[in-house]
Every structure is written in structure tokens, then in C-alpha cells.
Amino acid sequence: MAEYETHDYEVLVIGAGGAGLRAAIEASANQARVGVVTKSLLGKAHTVMAEGGIAAALSNVDERDNWRVHFADTMRGGQYLNNWRMAELHAKEAPDRVRELEAWGALFDRTKDGRILQRNFGGHRYPRLAHVGDRTGLEMIRTLQDYGIHAGMEVHMECTVITLLKDDGRIAGAFGYDRERGRFLLFRAKAVVLATGGIGRAYKITSNSWEYTGDGHALAYEAGASLMDMEFVQFHPTGMIWPPSVRGILVTEGVRGEGGVLKNSDGRRFMFDDIPENYRAQTADNEEEGWRYTQGDRDARRPPELLTRDHVARCILREVREGRGSPHGGVFLDIAWIKNRLPNGAEHIKRKLPSMYHQFKQLADIDITQEPMEIGPTTHYMMGGVRVDADSQMSDVPGLFAAGECGAGLHGANRLGGNSLSDLLVFGKRAGEYAARFAKNNGAASVDPQQIDAAAQRALEPFNRTGESPFQVQQDLQELMQNLAGIVRREEEMQHALIELRRLEERANRVAVAGNREYNGGWHTALDLRNLITVSEIITRAGIERKESRGAHFREDFPSKNDAVGRCNIIVRRDVSGEMQVIREPLAEMPAELKQIIEEMK
């Protein structure tokens, strides 16, 4: 084997977002020697962008809330495809994880009696999201970062893992390169936690950063782990659409939580026109009641703008398709109207939604206290990911754990807003704890020099070719997925996408990069491309297999639910011959007491 800079850890955490940092803190607290690898600088991971809040049934604002209601809301939102055990653990443990953040220095907005304030969000029955204005993610990542740097972990910033290493079936470490100089790095580890986030860069219109190239999903797949629920890509209903260069940037759901309403070009609040059966009892049927809900009236039901994201996104698409859209192909989101209801409305908006005010003012020359925003759906979140054991977060590969957005199970067919940040904390902690335990109970593994040299050689190939630019292939891929495996899907289109993906893969295998290995954007993109293509294929194959519409997965050719496939998760993994295998796996039977909770909360 060639010489590589080598690091030895008991637990290696890949990713320094909320999930990775929480895992690393926990593994360190369990006396493991911990290394953290991250593609960007510390504190810049996607988690920093989260706005609305962290869902936890603290019941500070409404004492009727408790873990059982949160559990039922999460399961309903996920259309019952969720792993019930994860939903249970999440609902029970989230409050402690939030309080722990406060003990580590996070400062949340307060109730009148000085406790953590909670806000309303789509799909949550009671005000449940702990928040700091609209920059909750920054508060969370900074708190974890600042606590973590005193917790004993070693951090490798701007390093990208390109392959996981195995020893006779179990995990043995990871291999990657540092972005600054382009040198290869070998990490030997007894346990590895994947916390690499999502896949949003597979689509053209997305709220996600460049890092979201599905690395963890692809690495796990290649290492033989199973992926689950990959057909469920969440399209957030409200992304910016104009001007073109900001298309996709998120407009927080908090705008609707504060009273913002959706209107079409006729000025109609079209969300009242289609309220799904299973939400009818909890949804306001008139504007007055909806407004009272946003202002904290506990007897009012929520306005239809706060229905689940999949539904709102599709309603918007319908308005646009039927010719009632806004000038640039979206609809209107109006918060300025609340000035008619609130004295000092403009000030109120600025105080409650400071970053949104700033974002529109600076990027679109729009004053949201005066005029409506133009918005449309944007690729936002991957519900699917590495299939893990609910309690330990371990995948099918012994020693390989996954937490946060790259893991699967908690959200089922659709994630509720705020349930991701709490997911990171609850399951990040669990992954860290169980990874440390695994490392203590298992001896050192050995790495395979041949596998490593082959990975290094493959990574360098783009320098030795002449050919197309990786950026072009990436753009074509994003276009393809947006058009053929987006919000509304059809069999022929997805089959066509598979054929096109083959072509893109061939092109990706021939891309060339100029220059040397130092901080080379083209090279980084060439290496990320492989992962993007792998996850795109997985999304598409899972999407073809689910011949029904459920949650975020909408099939025009199968517009309703189908119980046969509806009682299954779709699993994708690599079979012995290296082929992609798609399997339906029946849901695990839910214990009677959890079933009863769901019945009671209907």
C-alpha cells in the first residue's frame, strides 16, 4: 500500500452537522477516542441553515401536549410508514435533548414565565417548536460546536470521505482526501457514524447547499448497507422563485405559522379548497378561525396553509398548472396582510421573521411587510436513508451507524417541520453512545490495502483524461431528476430517467479535470458526481416500485393509496453480483399500546 497520513480512532464520525456533533459529543462522553471528518469548516454544515425550530413536547405553551401527541402527529405526518419505535423514542427523548442544549448554552426565546417558548408548525397539534427567531439552526450548531471543542474530539475540517473500509463484513474505517491540498487520508476506526445529511443537489431547484450530494447514502450502499424509503423526497412548498438566481432558497414555514397566507392570482386562499379527509377535523374551515389559531387561540383549529408539506406543495403545483399562478410560475405568500389585524404589524413581522425580512430585501428587493412574496416548491429533505436499528442506529453492516438526515425511519413518507433538528439530537446521541459501546466490545479491525489503493487511483483518474467538464454532467443530472423524478411522478418518466442515468454515469466516468489537486472545485465535483448518480438511481428505482401515492411520493398514474405496497417499506441494497436490488419489506407490527395512542388521537 502507498503511504497515507493515517489516523486511528475508536469512533469516526463522518459529518459535523447537528447529528454528527451530537454523536461525537456522546461518544467522547463515553470515553471513546473520537475523530470527526467534515467536508466544510466547523459550524458551516447544513444544520446552520435551519430556521423554524426544534420539535419537542416540552408542553411549556400548551399543557395538553405530551410525547403521546407528538408521537401520533409524527406517525400521521409520515402516513404510518415510520418506524414506530423511532417515533416513540424521538417523542419521548426530544424534550430532554432540548433542555440539554440549554444547559450547554443555547438561548431560546422565552415564555412569559421564563421557560422555553414554543411555536406552531405544520402538522404539530400544539405549539411545539423551541426556537430562536428564525435562526434556530445557527443556535443549535454553534452550541454543539462550542461544547464539542471542549469535549476531546479531533476534527478534520474540509476533508471528504470517498469510501468506507470493511474487514470481513464489519466496518474498519474510511478513506478520503483533504480538500485544501488534495492529499489522501486514511482513518482506521472500530466504529463509524455516518451523519452526512441529504441529497438535495440531485435536483435543480433546491434549498440545500453544495454538500448535499448524498455521500453518506452512496457510501453506505456501496458498503453493503440497506437503504430505506428513498422514494420519499420532501419538496418544501415555499422556496423563493424570483429572481432566477435565488430560486430554491427556503422561505421558512414560520411565515405561515405567524399568519402568512397563500393566494393565487385571483387573490383566492386556495388552500381552503382541498383539505384531506384525515386532517379535516383539525383544520379551520374559515379565515377567521385560522387567524385566531396563529395568534395563539387554543380553541381555534389550524389554517389549511399549515397542512403537511407534501399536500401544500401539490396544491401550489395545481394552481400553477391550472393557470392561476403568479407571474414567475409560483403563487403568493402574503404576511403583509396581518397589518390589518395587528397594530405595528410591520414591526411585528420584522421582529418575528428577521432573516426572512432581510433575505427578501437583500436578494429580491421585496419588503415583505409591504408586499406578498412569490414562492414555489423546492427540494428540501430526504426522508429515506440508511436503514438502522431504532435503538442503536446501527445499520446492517456491523459497526456502521447512521444518524440525522442520512438515516431513515423516523419520518416515514413525510417529515414534519421541526422534527429534523430533534431527530439529530435524539438519534445523534444514541448513535454516539452505541458506536462507543461497539468500539469497546470489539477489537481492532484491519483495513485492506488493495481496496485503499484502488480508491485512490480511481479518484485521480479525472486528472489523466481529456473530456467533458464535471459541472456540465452535474447540471444535466439535476435537470433530469427535477423533470422526471420530481414532485409528480409517472412510470414511463422514471423508466426513462433510468436510461438517462446510465448515460450520465458513462459521461461521469469520462469527465476530466484541469489543474492540480489543491482546492480544485472541478475535481471535488467530479468525485461528488458518482454519489449523486447512485442516489438518483436509488430514488428512481424506489419510486417505480411504490405504485401508489403517499406522503411526499405522488404518482400521477397511481393517484391514490394502495394498501398492498402501503404496508411496506421499500428497501434498496446491492446484491452479491453488485446489482441494485429493490425489495418490499412489510412494516413491523406496532405494539397495542402505541396503536391505541394513534386511535385516541385521530
Binding site: 466544510s40 447544513h46 454553534r142 485544501e180 447547499s209 433575505q359 492540480n516 480544485n520
Partner: protein, 251 residues
Amino acid sequence: MSNETGASTATFRIWRGNSSGGAFHDYTTEISEGMVVLDAVHRIQAEQANDLAVRWNCKAGKCGSCSAEINGNPRLMCMTRLNALPLTDPVTIEPMKAFPLVKDLVTDVSWNFRVKPQIKKFTPRLPDASDGTWRMAQADVDRVQEFRKCIECFLCQDVCHVLREHRLFEYFIGPRFFVNTAALDMHPLDTANRTADLRQNQGVGYCNITKCCTNVCPEGIKITDNAIIPLKERVVDQYFDPLRKLFRIFR
């Protein structure tokens, strides 16, 4: 400059090079409505200079990765609209100057990550309630939120002459970390005393209140007035207040 289809172009003069040297290169590219500088840099990277080094993450002004000097002004590339710049002349884009260059627009900001652990960590008082939680008034929380908005873009570090010109990296932690210290010191629950550190090894005395840091902060934090001056006052109170001094001698 517009052509017939309504599309127009602009020229960007981008620094290309690494620690062993470099030069400005001019790139002309198509621009469209609403574009920010980072969009133009990306377009140039995709179409003309694949190996261009540029650091970014969120493209929404939230992560503080894309700091650079645009026409000489330290700014976030993702929050600088092209229509706010004169496009008749080339737009110059350079890396931050206070930090060592890695390549093109990317600098080595790791010094900042080494400084932070030297600041005494958050040390809360005992919980107020039996369930282990605290009670805080919104007004007390609001007072520190300004400092907690910091996105660690390090633009303030870049312009501070103590670092940029005098290069006192070993003796001075810079405005970002005074903001950090203020956030901890004014945290309603914190009990640690950071004043001795501020004076002795963090060099708050080197700051001569030029306010250059405040002027570039993309988060609008009043770094000098609200963070540094109060910290300086603490140092004065603790070390130079005659009564206190006496008290220290007798102890």
C-alpha cells in the same frame, strides 16, 4: 452591456494563485437579473475555470463561508448583488488579506478555530427549578442575541488592523472573539469571569475602537459599541478601579 436577446455580460477580475504567487485574471460572463457575485463566480468556475477555488455552503448569507474582498470591500459573495456594483469596469474579487492564502479565493482561516477553545467555556449557574431547568426573561435573552447572530465569516478579523497590518495573531483574539466573549459574559446563566484573560492574553487593549469591524459585519452586529467597549470597561473596573485594587491587595 446588453446584446439583442436582453442578456448582458460583465467582467470579473479574479485573483488566481496560491501561497507561491499569482495574478488577477479577467473573465467575462453572462449575467442575469438578481445575480449575486457568488453566482457569477460559479458560472465562471463551471464554464471557464473548473479548478477555481471558492468556499461556500448555503448561498443564503447564513453560514459565513463565502467571505472575500469585492472591489476592495470585505463582503459575503452570496449577499452582494451585481446590481449594487458598477459593471462598467471589471469587478475585482480577491481573497481575504489577513489570512494566509490557500488558493484563489480560499484562505486558511484555521487560526480562528484554534483561538476559540482558549476562551473559557460556558459555565451556567445551578438550575433554578427542581426539574433542572432555568427561568430567564425574554429581555435578558434579547440582550445577548445580537452577539449570537454571528455567522463566523471572519470579515471583521480580516479588516482589523491589529491582525491585518500588525499581525498580532499571538496576542490578540480579534473582534469575532470579543463578540464571542461578550455573548458568554452577558449570557443570563453564565458565571465565569473572563476579564483576566481579556486583558492578559487576549489583548483587548490593542483595540483602539476604529470600528472598522462593525462596518463590515454582515449581521449588523455593533461589535465595537456593544461588545468591545463593555468588555474594556470590565477590564478597567477590575484592574484599574482604585478601590478594587486596594481590595485585591488586602486579600
